[in-house]
Structures are given as structure tokens and as C-alpha cells.
């Protein structure tokens, strides 16, 4: 991608009457970095504040550059070019709003300032906002020779996995400036991504500028965007070999090393950036996160590494390890290979820490992210109870590990996301995201994308919920293929993508039809699958209002009469105010506990995640003597919000009663790990479970801990006497 430092220079250079500045730039562009530095050093003593600003920026003296820009603006407040350049300085420093303000101020001075429009496009592009395209096109309309805007369009096309368009745009840029190294860098990137053994563009660039590390920086960025992190890292290293002062490349290198778990080296690079004045968030935040790793515990066991925060490691470990091993075992069978390295699973209780892991990544799910063999996830304790199914997310992310490993990370985003979404529901129909209102509206309004363009929905969404809709669509595309052609066909497609075939090629070759025909068949299938909900959505909304009024009136008869039909219009609706809960409450109000339990069982099967509702279900089942079913109801919560003392206490008791002492041990261990207020009772419960499991020594150890906390605790005293006989 074009580097911000140079962006905007070419169009402005002609306007600036500063031959010396141009001389410095020429030296830099020829790769004479030392000569360029000497030139900039001399220029930094200029009386012209604008020249001082540019020189200081080139010398990485950001503060001095900022001060000089301010001086230049004071001297020439009506100069839009200065504001644009200063805007780019702020954008480089990731102060986006300040940059936007300066670009808009420039536009207020000159409404069609192409540089300012390009600057705004660059800001939008950094956030993967599809508005970037429109802004760049506006810039080109104002000035068809706006090179940076053209380069931006090329980069955006490549982000959308459209290399053909990217090359077209880069060629247009070369028509404007045949010497554009940035345009050549994009073309070289297309070749490198395509695994071409050699690219003529690379040689051409390095011949003109042997220190042009930016070409590898550009390529590195696109490799990372395509989840080819290890290759991206290698490219960033090459960029720094050519020019060690490419701090953005160094920061990216540090960030990606951190993502893959190479923390020590990551820290070295990030600290080097920081020391050189690069104190912006993409450097500072990963450094803070790395510092916080001292609070995490690493648990290494054969083919897995778990990284859990100390304050919840004891609680989460048994559940997370069990689920991870179950998923690895299942995927090894399904995908027919074993990973060549351990899986590292990192769980962050603080969402802000997790957010640093996805810094600069587009279209990422907000709950988990995968970097080769490293999976980072939100902890269940970082979310409100019922909001987040961590086990489902774990299976989703681990699916990425397998599908990406199977293709050496050569897979379009839509397919790896689609497989991951598909795997969630394949593991359990209760798991995975339910069909949401934005998805219903997208189907109704025919907004699903053609399969060949589905990546765009993840990377550059054109409406607010398009990422959510694209996840749904990709998942259903995979489900459709599995239903029609079988799971093997998904594996065949995976292999074909691994050979770097495009989506249209894979669809044609593997499914035997052009993508347009596939889209037709898929849409017919998905519309039929969702027909009741999509067609009944408006009726459902009205029905929900009506039921809400009946609830206020406590008209139980009418609720029981009307609510089931409304519920069945949109059975996937299990969020706040869902009709399963309303119906269960109504049955309870009428004293019909059995019917209430039936309704809540329906809720659980529909994917309901509210722990309070699931606990109520367990209570009702227990009252009916259905101990095993009650335990199953509570077990579901372990996959949702295990940080719940009452859950483990109750589930442990139920499992003990149901003759599952091993399960009871697990639950009471979780209870003890939570360091509850009532430690004596918790240790005592664990002691009971150990005794039932035929582990008397461990039982005695726990009962002593119980009595140490409360020496007069009579049930524990009795158990101690029994165990001591």
C-alpha cells in the first residue's frame, strides 16, 4: 500500500516553490538515504516553516514537524496544501480525527481540493470504510492526475480480493506517472500473492531505488490481510533490511510477531519504534498488552498451549482444555490431517486487550481471531452473561486454523468464514449465531452478494450490518454445498482454493456450474429455508407488540392462545423479550410447571443463552425428578458463562445425585477456583465428590481445607471422621 509519508507529495510537489525540498526527495526516491538525510538536515534549518516541517518529518522528528506545520499555517492560513500535508502527518500518527479536520479545513478553503479529498479517502480506507472509493473517485474527478487517489483505488480493489481491478488501477497510475514505485509495488504484490516465482516489477523497483523497502511493506500488508502472517512477517523483515527507518513496517512486524506468539522479538521492534517517537496506538497498545502478559499463565500440554489470565485460569482451564481437545479431535477426522504445530489458545478477560490483537484487521468477528495456529478470544467473563457462547467461538476459530493450514493460508475470506460458521452449527444445532433482523432484511431486500463478490461484504461493507450478513451468508453457502454435494465437496473446494484458484474457478470446477447459476440455486434454497421468518417478519413485529400488551394486562389465557404462533414466525429469536420466556412465565403463573419446562426446553434447543432461563429450566426439571436433564440444562451454561458460583454448586450436586462423581469433581473444582465467600462449604462439596469418585485421599485433603476455614462445620467434621476410620 502507498505509504502515508509520501502520499500526496506528487500532486503538491509541482505547486511548491521549493527546489531544495524536491532535491531531497529525489535523493530519497533514488535510494540515496544518507544523501537525502543530509539534504533534509540542511533544510530543517530553513527559515521557511513549511520546509522545516517537511524536513523534520522526513527525519522522523514528528514533534518538530508538527510545530513547524503550525507555524506555516499561521503564516499562510489560507494555504490548503499545508493543511493537507499536516493532515497526512496526523494520519501517519494515527490521529484520524485531527487529520480529517485538516483535510476538511483544506476543502473549506478550496472545495474540490484533490489532495484533501484523497486524504479523506485515505482516512476512510484505513477503517476499511467503503466511502473511501467514492472519495477517491471525487478526487480523481477534481484532478484526473491525482496519483494517490488512483493508488488508493488499486489498493482497495486488492483488499477486496480483486487483483484484476487492482492491476488495472495501478496501470492507470503508471499512465499518470510511469516512474511511480508505489504503483509498481502494488503490481508486484499481486504477483507475490499469486505465488508467482518471480515478478518483473520487483526488479524494476529495486533498480530505480534499491532502498525502496516500501515495496515489501506493501506486500507484507496484503499478505497479512490474507491471513498469510508468516509470509507477511518475512516481507516486513525484507522491507527493514532495505530501509531500517520504515517504522510503520517495523510496527507491523512487531504486531504480527506478537500475534503469532513471538512476544520477545515483537517487543524489541515495537520498543524501537516507540523510542524513535512512533508513539501512536498501533505501537503503544501492543506494548501495553505485552507488558500485561506477566498476568497470564501459560499451560503447555503436548499439542496445545493455553494462555489464560491468572485470575480465571483455574476456573476456565478444565472447560477450555476439554473443549479444545474435543474440537481438535473432531477436526482431525473431518479435515483428515494433523496440524504440524501446537494450537495456542489465548483468552482475554479484558476486551480492550483482545481488541489490540485485531488492530488493523477488517471484518473480523468481535469475539475471536485466528493467526495461523494462535487463537485469541474474549473470555466469557468479559461479556454479560448470555451474550456470548465461548465454546461456539472456540470451534469457529479452530476451524480457521484447520482450513487455513490445509491451504497454507490461501483461501478467500468468505470461504474460511463460511466454513467456520458452518462448523459452529454442525457441532451443535444450538450453537452459532441465530438469524438476526439485519439478515432477515437483507434476504427480504435481496441484498445478499454474489458468491464471487462475497469477500467485499467482509472487507468493505457498504451498509452497517453487511459484515454480520456476510458471515451468515458465507455460513449458509457452505451449509448449502454440504447439503447438496456432501462435506467432501467442501474439502475439494478447500484444496482447490489452496491452489490459488479464484472463487469463480472453484465454483465452476468443483460444483460444475458458473457462479451465476450457483447464486441462483443458493438464493432459492436460502429463501426457502428462511421463508417463514422473512415473509412473517412484519407480522412477528406486530405480534410482539400485541403480546407485550397482553403481558402488561397479565392476560394469561390470551398469551397462551396467541404467543405460540408469533413465536413460530421467528423461532430463532431468543434474545431479550423472547416469547419462549414469556410463555414459560405465563405457564408458571398458571401453576403449570411441566408446560413451562417444555417451553424452556424449546428455548434451549432454539439456541437460547440466557443463564437465568436455563437455570429456571434446570429447577423445573429437577422438581420433576429429571435429574439428568436438569444437569444437562445447567451444563449448557458452562459454555456460556462459567463464572457463576451457583451454577457449579447446583450442577455439582445434580451430577453427584445422578451418579456422575467425575463430573461433580469438575464442577466443585470450578467452584473452589472461584474463591467463593463460603470456602468451607465449597471444599466440603469437593470432598464429597472425591469420596464418591473413589478418591479418599483427595477427599480428606479437601475436607481438611474445609475445616481449616470453619473448624466447627459439622457436616465436614462428620465426613472427616468417616474418612479417618
Amino acid at each position: 500500500m502507498i505509504t502515508l509519508r509520501l502520499a500526496g507529495l506528487l500532486s503538491l510537489a509541482a505547486l511548491l516553490s521549493a527546489q531544495t525540498l524536491e532535491t531531497c526527495r529525489q535523493s530519497h526516491r533514488r535510494g540515496n538515504l544518507e544523501e537525502a538525510d543530509r539534504c533534509y538536515l540542511a533544510l530543517s534549518a530553513s527559515k521557511d516553516p513549511y520546509l522545516r516541517a517537511e524536513a523534520n518529518w522526513a527525519l522522523d522528528r514528528y514533534q518538530e514537524a508538527n510545530e513547524a506545520f503550525k507555524e506555516a499555517l499561521k503564516a499562510q492560513p489560507k494555504n490548503p496544501d499545508y493543511r493537507v500535508r499536516m493532515g497526512y502527518l496526523y494520519l501517519y500518527h494515527e490521529q484520524k480525527q485531527d487529520a480529517v479536520d485538516l483535510f476538511e479545513e483544506a476543502l473549506a478553503i478550496r472545495k474540490d481540493h484533490a489532495g484533501a479529498l484523497t486524504g479523506l479517502a485515505a482516512v476512510a480506507s484505513e477503517g476499511f470504510d467503503s466511502a473511501a472509493i467514492e472519495l477517491a473517485e471525487k478526487a480523481l474527478a477534481a484532478d484526473p492526475k491525482q496519483l494517490d487517489a488512483r493508488l488508493l483505488l488499486a489498493a482497495i480493489a486488492l483488499e477486496d480480493n480483486n487483483p484484476r481491478k487492482a492491476v488495472e488501477e495501478a496501470d492507470k497510475a503508471l499512465q499518470v506517472d510511469p516512474e511511480s514505485l508505489e504503483a509498481l509495488a502494488l503490481k508486484a504484490t499481486v504477483d507475490l500473492l499469486d505465488d508467482k516465482p518471480g515478478t518483473p516489477h520487483l526488479a524494476a523497483i529495486l533498480k530505480r531505488n534499491p532502498a525502496f523497502g516500501e515495496v515489501y511493506q506493501t506486500a507484507g500488508r496484503f499478505f497479512v490481510l490474507n491471513r498469510r502472517y508468516e509470509e507477511g512477517i518475512a516481507l516486513y523483515r525484507k522491507a527493514l533490511e532495505l530501509n531500517p527507518r520504515l517504522y510503520k513496517a517495523r510496527a507491523e512486524l512487531g504486531l504480527n510477531l506478537m500475534r503469532l506468539g513471538h512476544d520477545a522479538e515483537a517487543k524489541q521492534h515495537l520498543e524501537a519504534c516507540y523510542r524513535a517517537g512512533n508513539t501512536y496506538p498501533s505501537v503503544g497498545n501492543p506494548l501495553r498488552l505485552l507488558d500485561s502478559y506477566k498476568n497470564f499463565r501459560y499451560i503447555k500440554r503436548d499439542n496445545i498451549v493455553l494462555k489464560l489470565h491468572q485470575r480465571e485460569a483455574d476456573l476456565l482451564l478444565p472447560y477450555v482444555e476439554e473443549e479444545l481437545r474435543r474440537a481438535i479431535s473432531a477436526y482431525e477426522k473431518k479435515y483428515k490431517f494433523r496440524l504440524d504445530r501446537p494450537v495456542q489458545l489465548e483468552i482475554y478477560p479484558d476486551h480492550e486487550d483482545f481488541a489490540v490483537r485485531i488492530l488493523g484487521m477488517p471484518g473480523m468477528g468481535a469475539l475471536g481471531v485466528t493467526f495461523v495456529n494462535v487463537v485469541a478470544m474474549d473470555s466469557p467473563s468479559g461479556r454479560r452473561p448470555g451474550e456470548y457462547h465461548w465454546a461456539s467461538t472456540l470451534w469457529h476459530e479452530l476451524s480457521h486454523v484447520y482450513t487455513l493450514a490445509a491451504t497454507r493460508q490461501r483461501m478467500p475470506r468468505w470461504f474460511t468464514e463460511g466454513m467456520a460458521v458452518y462448523e459452529e452449527t454442525a457441532t451443535s444445532p444450538e450453537w452459532g449465531d441465530r438469524i438476526s433482523p439485519p439478515v432477515i432484511l437483507a434476504i427480504r431486500d435481496k441484498k445478499l452478494l454474489p458468491v464471487a463478490q462475497l469477500d467485499r461484504g467482509f472487507v468493505h461493507p457498504s451498509y452497517p450490518d453487511q459484515v454480520v450478513v456476510s458471515y451468515f451468508q458465507a455460513g449458509r453457502v457452505c451449509m448449502f454445498i454440504e447439503r447438496k454435494w456432501g462435506f467432501e465437496k467442501l474439502l475439494d473446494m478447500t484444496r482447490a482454493f489452496g491452489q490459488l484458484k479464484t472463487t469463480p474457478e472453484v465454483v465452476q470446477e468443483q460444483l460444475g456450474m458458473p457462479p451465476e447459476e450457483f447464486d441462483k440455486q443458493f438464493l432459492a434454497w436460502v429463501e426457502e429455508q428462511t421463508r417463514v421468518t422473512v415473509e412473517g417478519f412484519e407480522s412477528w413485529k406486530k405480534g410482539m407488540q400485541r403480546i407485550s400488551e397482553l403481558v402488561k394486562k397479565e392476560d394469561h389465557d390470551q398469551i397462551l392462545k396467541e404467543a405460540p404462533a408469533v413465536r413460530d414466525l421467528y423461532p430463532d429469536y431468543v434474545e431479550d423479550g423472547n416469547l419462549y420466556a414469556v410463555l414459560a412465565d405465563t405457564h408458571l403463573a398458571r401453576g403449570d410447571k411441566k408446560a413451562a419446562a417444555g417451553e424452556l426446553e424449546r428455548y434451549a434447543r432454539a439456541g437460547g443463552k440466557n443463564p437465568a432461563s436455563l437455570k429456571l429450566l434446570a429447577t423445573l426439571l429437577e422438581e420433576q425428578g429429571k435429574t439428568r436433564e436438569a444437569a444437562e440444562a445447567l451444563s449448557r451454561i458452562n459454555h456460556i458463562y462459567p463464572r457463576d458460583e451457583e451454577l457449579h454448586r447446583r450442577l455439582g450436586d445434580l451430577l453427584l445425585a445422578a451418579g456422575d462423581p467425575a463430573g461433580a469433581v469438575r464442577e466443585f473444582q470450578a467452584l473452589v477456583a472461584m474463591k467463593p465467600l463460603d470456602q468451607a462449604a465449597s471444599y466440603f462439596s469437593l470432598a464429597r465428590a472425591y469420596r464418591s469418585a473413589g478418591r479418599p485421599e483427595e477427599a480428606k485433603e479437601q475436607v481438611l481445607l474445609s475445616l481449616e476455614a470453619a473448624p466447627g462445620y459439622r457436616p465436614a467434621q462428620k465426613l472427616l471422621l468417616e474418612l479417618s476410620q
Partner: protein
């Protein structure tokens, strides 16, 4: 409650630990909205119900709804002033909304509110040797300054008068009185310290699970210095008065006290418990195996002694 304190109650210091009577006054103030009104009344009702079922000799007065006026509150406080003696214990629990204007804390009740200054006037005239005042309203931290007094256990739901949002502390205080898990030392009694720890930790857990910024930070004050302690700052040895203040009893623990035939066993039990306390105190200076060995022996003997007591 600390075991040592409880045992001395059982055996010797009846005048200190088994007061002639405990006077409970629980008041739920104005809700302002039906939802709050219902919650406040229900928490007060829970407390009232639990206290009436307690094995302590208790005088329980609960004012809710329209009954909870300033005049009525003045009357019951004055009655307590008149009725209580030096061996008695007194507990005041206020539930609802409160306000603080930088000078006065006010408990919101139907009609004119009552201020902390007026409450202090009654409390300071009480002859009850032990006093527990639990103000569970918003802004209750504002009352800390006027109600603090050496020897009085004071619990407030907020760290200052500026924490103005409605509180959940009262919900968990009421829960503490009926949840056996609040009795962490399993002596079949809930002390003020146990209830405070339970309610404060549960309140914090509530905000944590809801991913909301906590707008209440309960404090415990008993030194009269005005330096309230948060539950997380409570260290070993702090909160002694609260630990010795038995809020309610359940179970049959105290029945044995009345049986002269079991006095010897009780004495042995107390002795063993003291030895366990001492051993725990010495733990840091011992090797783990030696500590475990001695602890196991003492706990076993204690269990056998209790078994004999229960026969």
C-alpha cells in the same frame, strides 16, 4: 464471626455476647417508582421475616410504605432509647433512596425526610452497649461523618454522598440473612461482618457481571475515625466489632450451652478451637507437612468432641 469470639460468648461472657435483647428497626423508604417501591418493601419484608425466625431474643420493628414517616421513625427510635439497656444490642437498617447536599444526608421517606443529624441524635442517646447502623441507600456515604462513633458498627452502601444512583446493596444484605453460605465459619450465626462481606462482594459481582461501572462502594466503619473500609481492603484483624456482632442465629449451636452435663466437652471444644487458631497463626513459621499434621490431629479431635456433644 470469629470463632474465638463466639466461644467466649458460649461459655463466659454472656453479658457481652448474649445481650438481654436485640432491638431491630428496619425501614424501607420512598421508592419514587412502583418498581423501586416494590423492591424496597420486599427487601425489608425479607429482613423482617428472617429476624422474626431468629433464635435471638429480639424486638423487631419494620416500617414500610406509608407507615415509614418521620414521625413514626422518631417514635420507634425514641422507644428504643427508652427501652434499651447497656446489655442490649441495637440494629437500625435503612433501605431506599438517600440524598446528600454536601452538608446533610437525608433518608427519603413519605413526608419530610429525616436527616443524619437527627438520626445521630437518637443513636447517641441509646444505652444499648452494641450498635449496628446499616444505611443501604444511595448517597449513604454522606452519613458516615455524623453517624460514626467509636464502638458503633456503621455500614453504608456508598463510599460518599456523591454516589447518587440507586443501590443494590440492600438486596444482598437481605439475602445474606437467609443464605447459609453467608455463614462462612459455619457457627449457625450471621455476624455483621459476614453480612457485610456477603452483601458487598455480591454487589460488586452484580456490577461486574452486568459489565456496568460500579456506582456503589460499601464501607464498614467501627473505629469512629470516619475511615470506612471497603470489603477488599479488610485485612485480618480488622472489623473485629462487626465480627463480634451477631445479627441473627439459626440452628441449635447454642442449645448445648444450656446443658450442664456438656460443659466439660464444651470447654474441651473451646480449648481445641483456640489451639487451632494459634496453629493457624503460627502457620507461616512452620513447614507445610508439620502444619498439616498438627492441624489434622486437632481437627479430628474437635470433630470427635463435637460428635460427643451432639449425642
Amino acid at each position: 464471626m470469629s470463632r474465638a469470639g463466639f466461644l467466649s460468648c458460649l461459655l463466659a461472657a454472656a453479658a457481652l455476647c448474649a445481650p438481654a435483647a436485640t432491638h431491630y428497626i428496619t425501614v424501607s423508604g420512598l421508592g419514587g417508582e412502583a418498581d423501586y417501591e416494590q423492591r424496597f418493601t420486599s427487601w425489608a419484608a425479607t429482613i423482617d421475616q428472617v429476624l422474626r425466625g431468629s433464635r435471638l431474643d429480639a424486638k423487631t420493628i419494620t416500617l414500610t410504605g406509608a407507615e415509614a414517616t418521620r414521625e413514626r421513625l422518631r417514635k420507634v427510635l425514641e422507644d428504643a432509647v427508652q427501652d434499651s439497656g447497656p446489655n442490649d444490642a441495637f440494629v437500625l437498617m435503612l433501605i431506599g433512596h438517600g440524598t446528600y447536599d454536601g452538608v446533610d444526608y437525608k433518608f427519603n421517606i413519605p413526608g419530610p425526610d429525616i436527616t443524619d443529624a437527627e438520626l445521630a441524635g437518637y443513636l447517641n442517646r441509646l444505652r444499648a452497649g452494641r450498635q449496628l447502623v446499616v444505611i443501604m441507600t444511595s448517597s449513604s456515604g454522606g452519613a458516615l461523618e455524623r453517624l460514626r462513633k467509636e464502638g458503633r458498627v456503621l455500614v453504608v452502601a456508598t463510599k460518599s454522598g456523591t454516589e447518587k444512583n440507586a443501590t443494590v446493596f440492600a438486596r444482598y444484605w437481605a439475602e445474606a440473612l437467609r443464605d447459609p453460605s453467608a455463614d462462612t465459619d459455619k457457627n449457625e450465626a450471621i455476624t455483621a461482618l459476614e453480612a457485610f462481606r456477603y452483601a458487598a462482594l455480591k454487589s460488586a459481582a452484580f456490577y461486574d457481571s452486568q459489565k456496568r461501572l460500579a456506582t456503589e462502594h460499601p464501607l464498614l466503619e467501627e473505629t469512629g475515625t470516619g475511615e470506612g473500609l471497603r470489603v477488599t481492603a479488610l485485612e485480618e484483624g480488622q472489623g473485629r466489632l462487626a465480627a463480634a456482632f451477631t445479627l441473627l442465629r439459626f440452628g441449635s449451636a447454642q442449645e448445648a450451652v444450656k446443658d450442664p452435663a456438656k460443659q466439660k466437652l464444651l470447654a474441651r471444644k473451646e480449648e481445641l478451637e483456640s489451639q487451632i487458631d494459634l496453629l493457624k497463626y503460627q502457620k507461616a513459621a512452620m513447614t507445610e507437612p508439620e502444619y498439616r499434621k498438627q492441624l489434622t490431629a486437632l481437627l479430628l479431635e474437635l470433630a470427635r468432641t463435637q460428635e460427643a456433644l451432639d449425642k
